[in-house]
Amino acid sequence: MADGERSSTRPRGRVFVARTQVMDGDEVRRALVRIAHEIAERNRGLRDVVVVGIQTGGVPLAEQLVTILREIEPAAVPFGTIDVAFYRDDIRLRPVQPEEVTDLPFDLTGRTVVLFDDVLFTGRTVRAALEALAERGRASAVQLAVMVDRGHRELPIRPDFVGKNLPTRRDELVVVAEDGVTIGDLRVTGNDEGIR
């Protein structure tokens, strides 16, 4: 499944069947703390650093990341969210719907943008996000942070900060939540119950 990490693409009538939990809530939390310190180290502090979460999967963890960043350095660390539906390259190939309204109320010119998503897979979501960000001003740098890098890239995109590298099969599904990371499969069912 080409873009299985995003809930928007999961058709109703199919259900996520969890197989293995690969991170628990504490491990997710520790990974976020480590990523926060790596961001501060790489950028020699957090001046001009802003965090942008990709709707919807990246947003809850990005919010937590911002809270941690504000604890470890006395900096404002503005936070925004971005929905990339209108920038995707697979419009027409499959149903594409915006999930949430973009909320990015500041100019990115001169800032260091840390783009956060829950799962990095083909890289197409990140490509769309980069195009969307470019319209909001010329950031001095864009860095990519993800909780899980599951491989299978289709574009030359590489994360700067990774919670966990997780080898997967293409047809598997990875679900990231604050209480852990689970790997499993989509199964066809007869009803609309399921995933969320």
Binding site: P11, G13, R14, A85, I91, L93, P95, Q97, P98, E135
Partner: protein, 338 residues
């Protein structure tokens, strides 16, 4: 006519179909509000929210329909609807072709069929059509491969006007209550004026009632449709009797160009009986909303001073026209497999 997207319930659509991009066909045309059910209208509302945010950006444009072409084919005079559609298409990065009857071969006698087939042959993805004949857009769907969007056909329908009106009411309710309402349930909406000749009224009756509002039609007997059978509405000739119970008063334009016979004694008398005068505006509920699809004829449907009151949503309607039409274009051209 387009079939609703049945993927969720159609057992013949398997997970494997989804994986390789085979899917039940997405809705192709928008000819009538009846092509969308309640869920379809609410889907357009949600999409419009996303495009309203785009409209606020420094660069109010997204690449969603890059490489696609939208033709506007207007066989009847219109400025705002055509500009609204063309602006919407451009903000989605689509290319736009404009056809207006006055500057084209139709004045040389070319038939509608030849005209639309010619435009279709240039390679377009959507055709936005306005025509003086009711049902013309439906006929056009037989002749062209593009998605057809009805931008007003005779006295039949004007679905995107109804969608932008629903969105405008929803937006006003959101501002009032601080949260987005599920639908328009509980609202009492009067549609006042030349209901008989109004495609706006026809689309709005369907849209408002699909979203749970109660619709009452107000018109002199000569401008009321001969039969209201099958319409989920009530009707009255007495506007003053119901003013105090209305949440929305929707004024229609008196279309002098469609009044082929003498149906009104005079425009002054119409204003006196059915126009929104200052006295009638004062008799409305304090938070009642005043709407008009434009162009407003001040002194007929509405008094000049009332048109400028804060309760009037007329300029919001125009602004929301672009946003809602972006949603319609994206819904038909961008959000599913074609």
């Amino acid at each position: 006519m387009s079939a609703p997207d049945t993927t969720d319930t159609d057992p013949s659509v398997t997970g494997e179909d989804f994986l390789v991009g085979r899917r039940a066909p997405a809705p192709r045309h928008l000819l009538s509000i009846a092509d969308l059910d309640r869920d379809g209208i609410l889907e357009i509302m949600r999409l419009s929210d996303a495009f309203a945010e785009v409209a606020e950006r420094p660069i109010p444009k997204v690449p969603a329909l890059r490489g696609r072409t939208v033709a506007t084919v207007f066989m009847e005079p219109s400025t705002r609807t055509r500009l609204s559609f063309e602006t919407a298409a451009k903000r989605l990065s689509a290319d736009v072709m404009t056809f207006t009857a006055a500057t084209s071969s139709s004045v040389k006698g070319e038939s509608l069929r030849d005209t639309v087939e010619t435009i279709d042959a240039m390679g377009i993805d959507a055709m936005v059509i306005r025509h003086h004949a009711s049902g013309a857009p439906l006929r056009v769907t037989d002749w062209v491969g593009a998605s057809v969007i009805n931008a007003g056909d005779g006295t039949h329908e004007h679905p995107t006007q109804a969608l932008l009106d629903c969105y405008t009411i929803r937006e006003a309710l959101t501002a009032r209550h601080g949260e987005v309402p599920a639908d328009l349930g509980g609202l009492r909406i009067a549609i006042v004026g030349d209901v008989k000749h109004s495609r706006v009224a026809r689309s709005n009756v369907l849209a408002f009632s699909a979203l749970g509002a109660e619709v009452v039609l107000v018109a002199p007997p000569t401008l009321m449709p001969a039969s209201l059978e099958g319409w989920p509405v009530t009707a009255t000739g007495d506007l003053d009797a119901i003013l105090g119970e209305l949440d929305v008063i929707y004024l229609l334009r008196i279309q002098s160009e469609r009044l082929g016979e003498v149906l009104l004694p005079s425009l002054d008398e119409y204003h006196w009986r059915y126009g929104l005068t200052r006295a009638r505006a004062d008799a409305l509920k304090r938070d009642a909303l005043v709407m008009h699809p434009g162009p407003m004829i001040r002194g007929v449907e509405i008094s000049p001073e009332v048109a400028d009151l804060p309760a009037s949503l007329v300029t919001r309607q125009v602004r929301n026209g672009v946003v809602t039409r972006m949603a319609v274009l994206f819904h038909l051209l961008g959000s599913g497999a074609m």
